[in-house]
């Protein structure tokens, strides 16, 4: 079923929307991504992901007041939907589960070699 999967970047955006709540909009999300991950992201890429997430039903949005810095234009504020929350939880759970299944030994060796 198309549309229920959460891509890596999508998941990142979705998480950040949650972090920034209730002030999550395109530009602030981008700033936060850059701050938190040091990844270079184009504004268009963020908008693209937001639009996809909204299509999948993980995000909902509403238009805010217009501000002067935006040349008198309104911003679109995003919030996580129930569906979005569930998808995040599922991903989180899956990851934790998988992580826990990794044998100690495997990680240890890596840790050693990392040291």
């Amino acid at each position: 079923m198309k549309g229920t999967q959460l891509g890596e970047f999508e998941e990142l955006v979705l998480l950040i929307v949650g972090v920034l709540y209730p002030d999550a909009y395109g530009l602030s999300i981008r700033e936060e991504i850059i701050n938190q991950t040091k990844r270079k992201v184009a504004i268009g890429a963020v908008h693209s992901a937001l639009s996809r997430l909204q299509d999948k039903g993980f995000l909902e949005s509403k238009l805010d007041e217009a501000t002067h810095e935006r040349g008198g234009r309104r911003k679109r504020l995003f919030a996580i939907t129930v569906l979005g929350k569930r998808a995040l939880e599922k991903n989180h759970e899956l990851r934790n589960n998988l992580f826990n299944q990794i044998p100690e030994l495997a990680l240890k060796g890596l840790n050693l070699s990392g040291l």
């Binding site: 909009y25 395109g26 530009l27 184009a42 504004i43 268009g44 890429a45 908008h47 693209s48 639009s51 996809r52 238009l63 217009a66 501000t67 002067h68 810095e69 935006r70 040349g71 234009r73 309104r74 911003k75 679109r76």
Partner: protein, 871 residues
């Protein structure tokens, strides 16, 4: 805080974004980008911030943000049927508007078609000759008393020498045209004969339907045109028959050995009777040997080259021949002989003195072409105006089509299809109108033109019609189609959409149309007044009650003179060698060391009296005065003014061909060619009766027709061998009047069409205007405004438009026509006066007033409540 203008992002990037970005995303995206730009500007230079802005803007070129172009399949065929059907229904429902559109377009199409045919014929003159680009006329550049002129005539020996000495010349033909009397049994007519070398029929493509072209090599053979064969030998086979050709009373027998096929319509020269060239020696006394000076004989030379590219080489070889001629011909030295390509010979005919091919003046054709283009433009204006105004009635159709999923593209397609239907109808009507009404009309007006069109045999004309049809459809249909289809369906259905209030384009069109109409009407009046001016001109002599009979020899003159003295209907008679308006000579004279060329008339002593030419100074010729015959001259006033500086030089010696003459009298000026040409210096010389070619008979007032019948009977009785060719002096300028008269008719027709077209355009615009203001006028009416007041309200702005058009058109046409008339009729300047301009203004005002009041009357008759109640 930064100033607002300080932080506005690059405009072009912003525009670019709005162009491709989805509408629903645009606001937030632009907002984000704007905010981002503000932040960037706080940290970086404007240039870097701009770059960054562009970079991020372009990153929105992703599928999610780009506007979806809705792509549908091409309009299905079935829809076109629907379009055509609704198209025809609309034509039927809006009959008046459709009529105006179709009629306007059809008339202008017909006019353009005819103009196209005229121009096409003019430019395809003589192109039916095979290898026309290898055929050249040799013409003579000559120094004619200081001015260089091109003459069509060439020395007799030039052709044979070229053929023998220049290798590139493959064929040569000399041609000369003379008039003579031709007789077979009872058929006796004066005809024009064409004497030509045998090469004539192989250079030019005049195929024979009977006989062989080579028969021209034998001296006593003659080849007829189809027309003259039918004239002399109706219903009989002419081959082998003997024709009698009579020149100066001497008869020569020729055997008919060939008949030409019907000549093509676009031949600028043909022949009636084709005879071997060498007959010129016996029959007209030409010395065929030697390089005579050119002025005494009228012989044309045509050559055919091996290829068209070798003309420069041949032209350079021609130089040596002018030296040979100039040894004999010292008075008017030949500058050079030139090669003139056959296809352009007729077009340039007017720049050459005496040329073999004849063509009409291109100025008139250019004028016609411009006129037809302007009329076409005018009809298109109308179409645009009217279809936009009529679309008001179809707004709901447009809205419904859009609501049920019709796209703008489809609507445009629909209106264009309708337009194609309408233009198609108009083109067919226009073509029929052109072929069956206008062209025959032109043929009547310009007698002898005889144009015919066969669309299916002439692909060029068919192509012209198709191109015209497509161009008209697109030009006239594009604006209405795009404009009408742009309405928003919701607004229409809510009743909010109205045709945009300004309609500036319509007004510009109407102004342009007033401009064109103004010029057309003015030209109609001016051509009429020129025509009248010319008809009212004093001819300088009395042409009424004057019968002129050409006489072939002395005995004929004497017989008619005898007859004239006995008949009571003839008041007086005079013989002459030349006849004013018909024939005259060019004579070179010398006064001291100055050379002049003057017109010369050879007359008898009674000529001035019979023609009623006033002698203002000195005397006319006297009967039996020997000195008059030898060395006295009478000159016209122009001679005195232009050659003798206003004084009558009675004791001045004038040298003509080595003889000395003295002026004994001065006549008033009179017109001898036409009214276009200014009167030039002319001389009269007294000649003996034996050299008379005409006898002029002055009849009692009103007795012209009776006298002619008597004279004719007497003539046929006495001279059965010669045709009677008498004419009325009044009619000598008839051809000339006919040509300006035809122009007048054409221009008046054009003016009529222009008036009708602009009235139609006005009609369309006024109805649009009134529809929009229907409520306003209804309220005014309810409140007690009377008709005149409303007419005034409506007319005001149209009169403003007209005034603008007038202010531009008046000086434009004034100077334009003055220039044109100076070119066309140099004799009649000062005919452009204020009168036509005032009358034209009045006509235009009347048209505006009538069109508007016809609308308003309708409005006034309506119950205003009906218009107001609709809401």
């Amino acid at each position: 805080m930064a100033d607002r203008s300080d932080i506005s992002p690059p405009k072009w990037a912003d525009r670019c974004l709005s162009w491709f970005c989805k509408d629903e995303l645009l606001e937030e995206v632009r907002g984000d980008l704007h905010e981002f730009y503000g932040m960037e500007r706080a940290k970086k230079s404007a240039l870097k911030a701009n770059w960054s802005y562009w970079y991020h803007m372009l990153h929105f070129l992703r599928p999610f943000a780009i506007k979806k172009r809705i792509r549908t399949r091409q309009t299905p065929i079935a829809m076109y049927r629907s379009y055509i059907k609704t198209g025809f229904r609309n034509l039927k429902r809006q009959q008046l508007a459709s009529f105006i559109n179709v009629f306007g377009l059809a008339t202008t199409i017909a006019i353009s078609l005819v103009v196209y045919v005229l121009i096409d014929r003019q430019f395809s003159l003589d192109d039916f000759h095979t290898d026309a680009d290898q055929i050249f006329a040799v013409q003579t550049r000559i120094d004619w008393n200081g001015t260089e002129e091109t003459w069509g005539r060439t020395p007799l020996l030039l052709g044979p020498s070229l053929e023998a000495e220049v290798p590139q010349v493959t064929e040569m033909a000399r041609v000369s045209r003379r008039s003579a009397t031709v007789r077979f049994d009872d058929n006796v007519f004066n005809e024009r004969l064409t004497y030509a070398d045998p090469g004539y029929l192989s250079i030019f493509n005049f195929p024979l339907s009977q006989g062989q072209p080579t028969s021209l090599e034998s001296k006593k053979n003659i080849i007829l045109s189809l027309a003259s064969s039918e004239k002399y030998f109706p219903r009989t086979d002419p081959i082998g028959k003997d024709l009698k050709i009579i020149i100066d009373g001497k008869a020569y027998l020729f055997t008919v050995t060939g008949v030409a096929q019907k000549f093509p319509e676009n031949a600028s020269f043909t022949f009636d009777f084709l005879l071997p060239f060498e007959n010129l020696k016996d029959m007209h006394g030409l010395d065929l040997q030697g390089w005579h000076d050119i002025k005494s004989q009228s012989v044309f030379t045509f050559i055919k080259l091996d290829q068209s590219g070798s003309s420069p080489q041949v032209a350079s070889q021609l130089k040596s021949y002018s030296d040979v001629v100039n040894e004999i011909n010292t008075d008017w030295p030949v500058k050079q002989f030139g090669l003139y390509p056959l296809p352009s010979l007729a077009r340039n005919a007017q720049y050459v003195r005496e040329t073999y091919a004849s063509g009409s003046t291109p100025e008139i054709l250019v004028m016609f072409a411009i006129i037809s283009l302007l009329l076409l433009a005018s009809a298109c204006f109308n179409y645009v105006n009217i279809s936009v105004s009529m679309a008001q009635k179809r707004l709901s159709e447009i809205a419904i089509r859009k609501v049920v999923g019709g796209q703008r593209k489809q609507l445009i397609g629909q209106f264009l299809t309708e337009n194609f239907v309408l233009c198609f109808v108009a083109t067919i009507i226009g073509a029929l109108l052109g072929i069956y009404v206008l062209l025959p009309g032109i043929n009547v007006l310009f007698s002898g033109s005889g144009y015919t069109i066969n669309i299916f045999q002439d692909p060029a004309i068919l192509g012209f019609l198709v191109v015209l049809f497509i161009a008209l459809s697109l030009i006239s249909g594009a604006y209405p189609a795009f404009y009408i289809s742009s309405f928003k369906p919701v607004a229409i259905l809510k009743g909010k959409e109205n045709l945009s209030g300004k309609n500036r384009l319509g007004k510009v069109f109407l102004t342009a149309q007033f401009f064109l109409t103004f010029i057309a009407i003015v030209s109609g009046f001016l051509f009429t007044s020129i025509n009248e001016f010319q008809e009212d001109q004093d001819w300088g002599y009395q042409a009424s009650d004057l019968l002129v009979v050409p006489v072939g020899d002395h005995s004929q003159y004497q017989a008619l003179k005898q007859f004239a003295s006995q008949s009571p209907g003839i008041v007086s008679s005079a013989g002459s060698g030349s006849q004013i308006g018909i024939s005259s000579g060019q004579t070179a004279i010398r006064i001291l060391d100055d050379k002049f060329t003057v017109r010369s008339f050879n007359v008898g002593p009674a000529y001035f009296g019979v023609m009623d030419i006033d002698i203002t100074k000195g005397r006319g010729f006297e009967m039996g005065l020997a000195s008059d015959e030898v060395n006295n001259l009478v000159v016209n006033q122009a001679f005195i003014e232009q050659i003798s500086n206003g004084e009558a030089p009675f004791d001045q010696l004038i040298n003509i061909d080595g003889e000395s003459y003295k002026i004994v009298g001065v006549t008033e000026n009179f017109h001898f060619d036409d009214f276009f040409s200014p009167i030039t210096p002319a001389i009269f010389r007294l000649v003996p009766e034996a050299r008379f070619n005409y006898i002029s008979l002055k009849t009692v007032p009103g007795g012209l027709n009776d006298t002619e019948a008597l004279v004719k009977a007497e003539w046929t009785d006495q001279f059965p061998d010669s045709p009677y060719a008498g004419f009325f002096q009044e009619e000598v300028f008839d051809n000339f009047f006919a040509s300006t008269g035809s122009l007048k008719s054409v221009m008046n027709f054009v003016a009529m069409v222009a008036i009708i077209l602009s009235a139609m355009g006005l009609f369309g615009l006024v109805s649009l205007f009134i529809i929009k203001k229907l409520k306003e006028y209804s309220i005014r009416k309810v409140l007690g405004a009377h008709g005149g007041h409303i007419i005034g309200l409506v007319s005001k702005q149209f009169i403003v438009l007209m005034s603008i058009a007038l202010i531009i058109a008046a000086p434009f046409s004034y100077y334009g026509f003055e220039l044109l008339f100076e070119q066309m009729f140099p004799g009649s300047i000062d005919t452009v006066s204020a009168g036509p301009f005032l009358i034209t203004t009045a006509i235009l005002l009347a048209v505006i007033f009538l069109t508007i009041s016809s609308h308003i009357l309708q409005l006034l008759r309506m119950n205003p409540v009906k218009n107001l109640r609709l809401e």
